[in-house]
């Protein structure tokens, strides 16, 4: 009976993961620029969501729950970048940008945006990426452990930085 319940929960979670995978991928991309490491980090996020499936209490939406786990996994993802946290990314980003510029202008704009988001301080990055995913200030506050007013301040600072940087390009 318990096994059946666990199996059903996990299979439902699998469907939710499929639905929200684009969101998870964007959150992961806002922390990690290298494609291979993105895939690895996304796997870690999926495993973490899977393992936490039984603990999910329906007091928050499943999307919020997944975003919280993804953010938590991503901020502790330093294993491979710890030796050179800033180096190594620029070249990769330029390669990605160069290859997509030829084909998709919109894709390039997105790459510029994600590159800017990656440069933000941690909590600005967290709050902005969640806002861009469509979460309310209250939900962001719950996920990040911040008050709504703090969330507002962080997002406006982050947006100002991003807009300024994008204009300069």
């Amino acid at each position: 009976m318990i096994y059946w319940k666990t199996w059903r929960t996990k299979s439902a979670i699998e469907q939710h993961i499929q639905t929200h995978l684009p969101m998870l991928e964007r959150i992961v991309a806002s922390y990690e620029s290298r494609h291979a490491l993105q895939q690895e980090l996304l796997q870690e996020v999926v495993v973490a969501i899977w393992q936490a499936a039984d603990k999910y209490q329906q007091d928050a939406s499943i999307k919020t729950y997944m975003a919280r786990i993804a953010q938590n996994r991503c901020i502790t993802h330093v294993d491979k970048s710890v030796h050179n946290p800033d180096g190594g990314e620029v070249e990769e980003e330029m390669k990605v940008s160069e290859s997509v510029t030829i084909e998709f202008e919109k894709e390039q704009q997105w790459q510029q945006l994600i590159a800017q988001v990656r440069q933000l301080p941690l909590q600005q990055k967290q709050t902005l990426s969640l806002m861009l995913e469509g979460f309310s200030y209250r939900e962001i506050g719950d996920i990040c452990g911040l008050s709504e007013s703090n969330v507002g301040v962080l997002i406006s600072r982050a947006k100002a930085t991003i807009k300024h940087e994008l204009k300069e390009r």
Binding site: E14, I17, Q18, L21, P22, E25, R26, A29, Q38, Q39, L42, Q43, E44, V46, V47, A48, W50, Q51, A52, K55, R68, I69, Q71, N72, R73, I75, T76, V78, D79, V82, H83, P85, K106, E107, Q109, W110, L113, I114, P121, L122, Q123, Q126, S129, M131, L132, E133, G134, I143, C144, G145, N150, L154, K159, I162, K163
Partner: protein
Amino acid sequence: MSQDPLQKLWQSNQLHLPIDEIMRQAKAKQHRMFWFMAIDVLVWLSVVIFASWHIHQNSMPGIFAIGVFSIITTSVLVGYLLWLRTSTWGIDSLDARNTLKLSIRRCEAGIQLGRVSVIYCIFIAFAVITFRNVYPEQFEQRSMFVYGWSIGWCIAYYIGYCWYGKKQRQQITRYQYLLTQLDLIDE
């Protein structure tokens, strides 16, 4: 309600990573993690069975002392390792600050784990040398091998501990830097 242009641009990104492959690898990773956890228990079990079998087969006091010693020390070590692991579970429902603090605790537990393994190895080496002197008949033909094996493991563990400890300390520095960023925002 109209959508923020940045939000629109952000959400316009299409999925690039292969979903099915990621799901398959995630499942495999989860199974792997379970087996890694099971290895600790299996190692402990095999030491207990092997030592008990030797005690049962040989009635010599030297074998009995070494067997009991192996069972007790391995049980203490494995118990401690499992406690270290389980005491750092529960990252998923936390906010950023507590997640980072928990990660720092995990790294510190990792360093402690390495330290305990080295101490355990040195302890075992000393115990083997002591047993060699107390019960020389058990080691008559194998003195050099026993010394070499004991000291070799100590050196290998110490090198592993230095490498792993350095890596963990680098991670702690990184987490502490991120924690400082969070504290700056609160001020």
